[in-house]
């Protein structure tokens, strides 16, 4: 029964995404990030190896450092903003679905957005490589895997951002927190503590600023960190929702 309610909630969330302003963010942020990354790649030819791995490093450096976490935060904030507006809290909380399902469905919808964004990011990477940087051949298949891994690594961050945005009616503060979290994530990763910071996981997953696989033999701890953080933040949100008195 819970699974059915979850599926219904996911379908409802996906319907809410239709025609929303969030798609402009989906299109523009990876585009901006790709332009930055390619520009940096082309004009730092002395410092950056001129191949697909080098281009991936430059693309993901800017993407993971400045763009990815705030973009995920905007997705999360937008999904909750729909309920913060008007009297939508009373509407959704009065529906015959378990309250934790509402949160889990938003997480699923946000993950779907991030997954699509990663696909778009990879297409831009490929397009910029061929048409702008004029690189020969095709990118190594591992780049596609890293893009996918970045989406999976975003799940705990999305859960945390959804938790913030559920609690905060304003759009901006959670996005600013994500920006700070993303920059801090790079510091954590550079110190080797990326697994312990939800905002560091996407940089690890995507091998940001690296041409080689940073995870190496750490796939299991990486998966455990993703799962652990996700469960923690989702459980916190579910607990809060269960005890929530709808005021608005």
């Amino acid at each position: 029964m819970v699974l059915k309610a979850f599926r219904r909630s996911v379908r409802a969330e996906n319907k809410k995404l239709r025609g929303g302003g969030v798609w402009a963010v989906f299109l523009l942020i990876p585009l901006l990030s790709a332009a930055y990354g390619t520009f940096s790649f082309c004009y730092n030819s002395a410092a950056v190896t001129q191949d697909w791995a080098g281009l991936w490093g430059q693309h993901t450096l800017y993407y993971a450092l400045f763009f990815f976490a705030p973009m995920a935060a905007i997705y999360a904030a937008w999904l909750w903003r729909l309920e913060h507006l008007g009297h939508n809290w009373a509407l959704v909380m009065g529906m015959p679905v378990p309250r934790p399902c509402l949160f889990a469905a938003k997480l699923a919808a946000a993950f779907r957005l991030v997954l699509l964004t990663q696909g778009w990011m990879w297409l831009l990477f490929f397009g910029c490589g061929k048409l702008w940087a004029r690189l020969p051949g095709t990118p190594p298949p591992a780049c596609l895997l890293w893009a996918l891994r970045g989406a999976l690594a975003a799940v705990p961050m999305l859960a945390l951002q959804l938790l913030f945005s559920m609690l905060c009616r304003s759009f901006v503060p959670p996005v600013l927190l994500a920006l700070l979290g993303g920059v801090a994530g790079f510091l954590f990763v550079s110190k080797g503590w990326g697994l312990y910071w939800p905002y560091g996981l996407p940089a690890l997953g995507m091998n940001a600023n690296q041409g080689r696989d940073m995870l190496g033999g750490q796939a299991l701890p990486f998966a455990a960190a993703c799962l652990g953080f996700t469960l923690l933040f989702t459980a916190a949100a579910a607990l809060l929702l269960q005890k929530w008195d709808v005021r608005g």
Partner: protein
């Protein structure tokens, strides 16, 4: 099985030190249109939110559709309930039909039901317009349509005519009045205006400061509207003896040449008029000074007489 679709026992909700609802014993009969009336801040919305499990009670219990409302069966009861609390919730960037699809999905109701509810609230021609472009009245009707999805057995509507113009109020009133017939649902509807509901409700609960002041049929409330009896006499001084004989000497008072008597049963009044005529008082007029329902409501909610009222 009880006769009530909604029953509360000693229900209360306290925010900090302020009691929003206290000791509420609501009884909404199955198949009725129950008007829940009270001034702004009386606790109507709080009560409705308690009934839907949107807020947790501080004390007391709730029975909905013959079942105790508990965290375990809340979802089951919600699936049989349609609600519109305060103003309707909606997603302005989507069309009316898309909004209904979302609610139908969450309620697990058939998508084909959407056409029915659109038709019921007369929104079919505007179903594919964005809700952001809807008028206030259309949004209220969309809110009712959302509540009607899934054939609910209980409809909880909180001030559905809020903010509507007179034509919109009239339209909404007609829509709600036909709900029991069209959908077989019990309707609990709130308003701060008794006059707004008296044409469509058959039961009434009057709430003030979180307490129920009156509960019963609308006809019962109208009974309370029987006011003083005013007698116009040619010779008022001749009325003393018959009034004393009828046991009304203390209750009767003379104002502006008229004798004012407390509410009397009709047979008793007929006898009294006969006695007055026989005593030569010269009865030239008998008037019942009826109170309007609005006056009763005001007298109840402003701590007035409210004689014989719960």
């Amino acid at each position: 099985m009880t006769q009530n679709a909604v029953e509360t026992h000693d229900l209360s909700k306290v925010y900090g030190t302020r009691a929003a609802v206290q000791g509420l014993a609501l009884e909404v009969p199955f198949g009725s249109v129950y008007g829940f009336i009270g001034p702004n801040g009386a606790g109507k919305t709080t009560t409705m939110k308690l009934l839907l499990g949107l807020i947790r009670p501080t004390g007391g219990s709730i029975r909905l559709l013959d079942e105790e409302l508990t965290p375990a069966n809340r979802l089951k009861l919600l699936s049989r309930t349609g609600s519109l609390i305060e103003n309707p919730g909606f997603y302005a960037h989507l069309t009316g039909a898309e909004n209904l699809r979302i609610v139908a999905e969450l309620k697990g109701s058939d998508a084909a039901d959407i056409a029915r509810v659109l038709d019921t609230v007369r929104l079919t021609p505007d179903a594919n317009r964005k809700v952001g472009h809807y008028s206030l009245g259309m949004r209220q009707r969309l809110g009712i349509a959302m509540a009607l999805l899934g054939w609910p057995t209980l409809l909880v509507l909180d001030e559905p005519t809020n903010g509507l113009d007179p034509a919109g109020i009239q339209e909404m009133r007609a829509l709600i009045a036909e709900m029991p017939r069209r959908c077989g649902a019990t309707v609990l509807i709130s308003s701060h205006l008794l006059s707004e509901l008296e044409q469509i409700v058959d039961h009434v609960g009057i709430l003030d400061s979180g307490r129920l002041l009156y509960q019963g049929t609308l006809a019962g409330l109208q009974e309370h509207s029987r006011g003083d009896v005013a007698l116009r006499l040619l010779h008022p001084e001749a009325a003393q003896a018959p009034l004393a004989a009828a046991g009304l000497a203390a209750a009767a008072r003379c104002e502006n040449g008229e004798w004012l008597l407390p509410p009397l049963k009709e047979a008793f009044l007929a006898d009294l008029v006969g006695s007055l005529a026989a005593a030569g008082a010269g009865v030239v007029g008998v008037n019942r000074r009826t109170k309007s329902l609005e006056e009763i409501f005001l007298s109840l909610t402003q701590g007035g007489s409210g004689t014989g009222v719960v």
